[in-house]
Amino acid sequence: MPGEGAGRGLAAADKYYQDYGCRARELKGQGKRIMGYLCALAPLEMLTAAGFMPFRIKGDVNEPITKADVEMETIVCPFVRSCFDMSLKGKYEFLDGIVIPHACDSICRTYDVWKYTLNLPYFHLINMPHASDDPSLNFYKALLNTFRTSLSKFAGKEISDQSLTQAIQLYNQNRAKVRELYELRKASPPLISGAEVTKLLVAAMGIPVEEASELIGSVIEEVKQRGSVLAQKSARIMVVGAQIDNVAFIDLIEDSGAWMVADDLCPGARELFPYVDATDDPIDGIAERYLRKVYCGRTCRERKGSYQEYTEERFGHIGRSIREFSVDGVVLYIYKYCDPFGFDVPATKSYIESMGTPVLYLEDEYSMSTIGRLRTRIQAFLELIGSK
């Protein structure tokens, strides 16, 4: 039954965050099959409908990358390298397989390294297109159906439209919960800290979706009950970037006298806000969502009209968050070797600045070793906002 084993509230979130994977390990013990995945573009509805518990593979900023360097070049995105390193070090021994969407070069171009180095019974690359016009959408649907066939063969059970529709409902409920959670950040001071939110969202990546929804729900209750306990701080910060699955960087911001109140991140608003529409063929709704509703730099939106309209189309969601969450400054936090987000920096930065919101662009390496070095930048940025 849903929620079984999942504790409640911030304490449970913290437990699942600290001991990431413990719930998956537990369920594996009870005979549940666990399917690992990399990146927010893996169609979770499909995994769930096939009877797997989807498990998001994460890295660890505290763990120096060693084993990965034996098989993988260091010119690959450090986040991907860390994920691979953790997998090689047996952190996710409970996985029955890994599903990898063609997100970016660092993921797609290392697919064979993952597949042939980790001995797992199942691997599948979803060769998602970078273009998003109608032919691309139809192609993507075909890919999803290939995946559907392949996965049901491995699951030994057919993936029915009905089970997909149920899964879609589960995830949409989860997404609604996340939106509700973000409402708590709009107050000033926010009712929940950025670090608390990130811990919760990371915890949610490692447990079944029903439990995740319940966990988020219980945190919402708890936070509403405790009321406004957070101190007033000098600035409300939004973090924009690829993937942040640890709180080290967010603690840095919040220890420097600001709150992180909004994001365009994975896990975060970019990945968790968009719903799947109910469609006759559930694949249509799923395809539409992952290709067109998740605003990731790896997906090339069609340019219709002027460049300005195009920029609005690409970054408008960031602008809306800045207004809705009354953001004072944006930290643009990009990893080294990240092609999809790295090339967007000039356009993203000038779009946000055109709204009169200051931007701090940081290039980082997914390692605790750099956190100390970022402190002065963050503090100076806050002083700069304060003196405005």
Binding site: V70, E71, M72, E73, I75, V76, C77, C104, D105, S106, C108, R109, T110, Y111, D112, V113, Y116, T117, Y122, F123, H124, L125, N127, P129, H130, A131, D133, P135, S136, N138, F139, A142, T146, S150, K153, F154, G297, R298, C300, E302, R303, S306, Y307, Q308, Y310, I334, Y337, C338, D339, P340, G342, F343, D344, V345, P346, A347, K349, S350, Y361, E363
Partner: protein
């Protein structure tokens, strides 16, 4: 940064390769002249799959990777890389793209070419033809970023993927919808061009050019296969020149003729036992990675040690068309799509035959055997995540499924010379030659 001393004029083994300098210069000036004459110019990428279409519509391609590479060869890339860095573009990104964006940003700011641009500079495009295919992310991010400096220039993004190699299904089960998708994207490209260039596609001409490029694929394969000969008549150093007509002039008669000449020249060299090096000691394969354009002289250094490169996997993204068993189709776009998919899946069946193997590994094994290879050299260019992730794995896996073979991975970049040190690189080459000798002498 002060540029390194200009490299010594590199010696080419073939007469054909020595013609390349002027040919690539012509490509740059063609685009510049086209601008003056008001002809349409398109930014685009090598192996974009658009060649025949662009040529058939008399659009002059400006190969942005090519120009960045030329800046590399001329050791004049740093100022453009710095320009890009000043634009908040990370130095860890594709340095071809950084050079190009640095150049665009500079040209757009001045309203004219940046100060003394090599070979007259990169012409401002009328359209930019991105590619959402699988080769690399910069192929759709680069021109998207370039719009930041040229907001008025329309961009087309077409997808040209190919089926990944998987055990859980056969590529034949999916190739149908891959081809269908590619055809739609190529048709989309033509509509886009007709709309923005205001010129209709001449379909008969397109068919002719597709047929011409088929024949060019064949003649290139036949010419390159001649390099199996001992002594080897042409090395990878030269192939890094002869790639120019292969990737920048596909679908032109000139390219076909060039490789016909190369074929004849290699035949002559073989008949007269003329090798790249007089006393051929080691036959090496360039098994992966783009070259450091500013350090092609290193190939001569290998030669000076009695080592030749009869074959490379880089810039040989083609096979004889008659080997690809393409279905007979009348639509030239459909033919292009099939050729693309069948090329990328060419070694899939072969891979399934050898336990635990993989098409990339089969590719290496095939060349090792056909070209009697003693060792594999690769280059890990830090800024490119297209060809360079997976090299270590390929070597490890090759040794696992096939057997041990001496290997060397050089580390530098395609155009960023600050990652290169000649003394250290050549020290590595010397050490590698020693290991080759040690392994060879065991065999004897």
């Amino acid at each position: 940064m002060t540029e390194e001393k200009k490299p010594e004029k590199r010696r080419t083994a073939t007469e054909a390769a020595s013609r390349i300098g002027s040919m690539s210069k012509a490509l740059i000036s063609d685009a510049l002249r086209a601008k003056e004459e008001g002809k349409p110019v398109a930014y685009t990428f090598i192996f974009c799959g658009y060649d025949e279409i662009i040529r058939a519509m008399d659009i002059v391609p400006a190969w942005t990777e090519s120009y960045a590479g030329i800046l590399g060869v001329k050791r004049d890339a740093q100022r453009f890389l710095e320009r890009a860095e000043s634009e908040n573009l990370s130095r860890s990104l594709c340095t071809y793209a950084l050079c190009g964006l640095g150049f665009d940003n500079w040209r757009e700011e001045l309203g004219e070419m940046p100060p003394n641009p090599p070979w007259g500079g990169q012409a401002r495009p009328n359209v930019m033809l991105s590619s959402g295919q699988m080769i690399c992310d910069p192929r759709y991010k680069w021109y998207q970023a370039a719009q930041h400096y040229m907001p008025d220039v329309p961009v087309y993004v077409g997808g040209l993927p190919w089926p990944p190699y998987e055990e859980d299904y056969d590529y034949r089960e999916v190739e149908g919808y891959y081809v269908k998708y590619i055809v739609e994207e190529l048709r989309g490209l033509i509509e886009f061009l007709e709309r923005h260039i205001g010129k209709k596609m001449d379909w008969d001409r397109l068919s002719e050019l597709v047929d011409l490029s088929d024949r060019t694929w064949n003649i290139i394969s036949e010419a390159y296969d001649l390099r199996m000969a001992v002594p080897c008549p042409m090395g990878t150093g030269d192939a890094m020149n002869t790639m120019v007509p292969m990737v920048f002039m596909m679908g032109t008669q000139e390219a076909y003729n060039f490789f016909k000449d190369l074929y004849d020249e290699l035949k002559y060299k073989i008949d007269n036992k003329i090798g790249v090096v007089p006393d051929e000691k080691y036959r090496l394969m360039w098994g992966g990675g783009l070259p450091s354009w500013f350090a092609l002289g290193d190939f001569n250094y290998f030669n000076s040690k009695g080592a030749v490169f009869p074959v490379e996997t880089t810039y040989r993204l083609l096979e004889p068309v008659y080997k690809l068993d393409l279905p007979k189709v009348s639509d030239p776009l459909e033919h292009l799509a099939w050729r693309w998919v069948k090329y990328w899946t060419y070694r899939y069946d072969k891979a399934k035959k050898r336990p635990g193997s993989h098409p990339d590994i089969e590719h290496l094994i095939e060349y090792i055997e056909d070209y009697k290879i003693d060792g594999v050299v690769m280059h890990e260019a830090f800024s490119c995540r297209s060809w360079h992730p997976g090299l270590i794995w390929q070597l490890n896996h090759l040794k696992k499924v096939y057997g041990d073979i001496p290997s060397l991975i050089l580390e530098s970049d395609i155009v960023d010379i600050s990652s290169y040190n000649e003394a250290d690189t050549r020290a590595r080459i010397d050490a590698f030659i020693d290991t080759l000798e040690a392994v060879k002498s065991r065999g004897r």
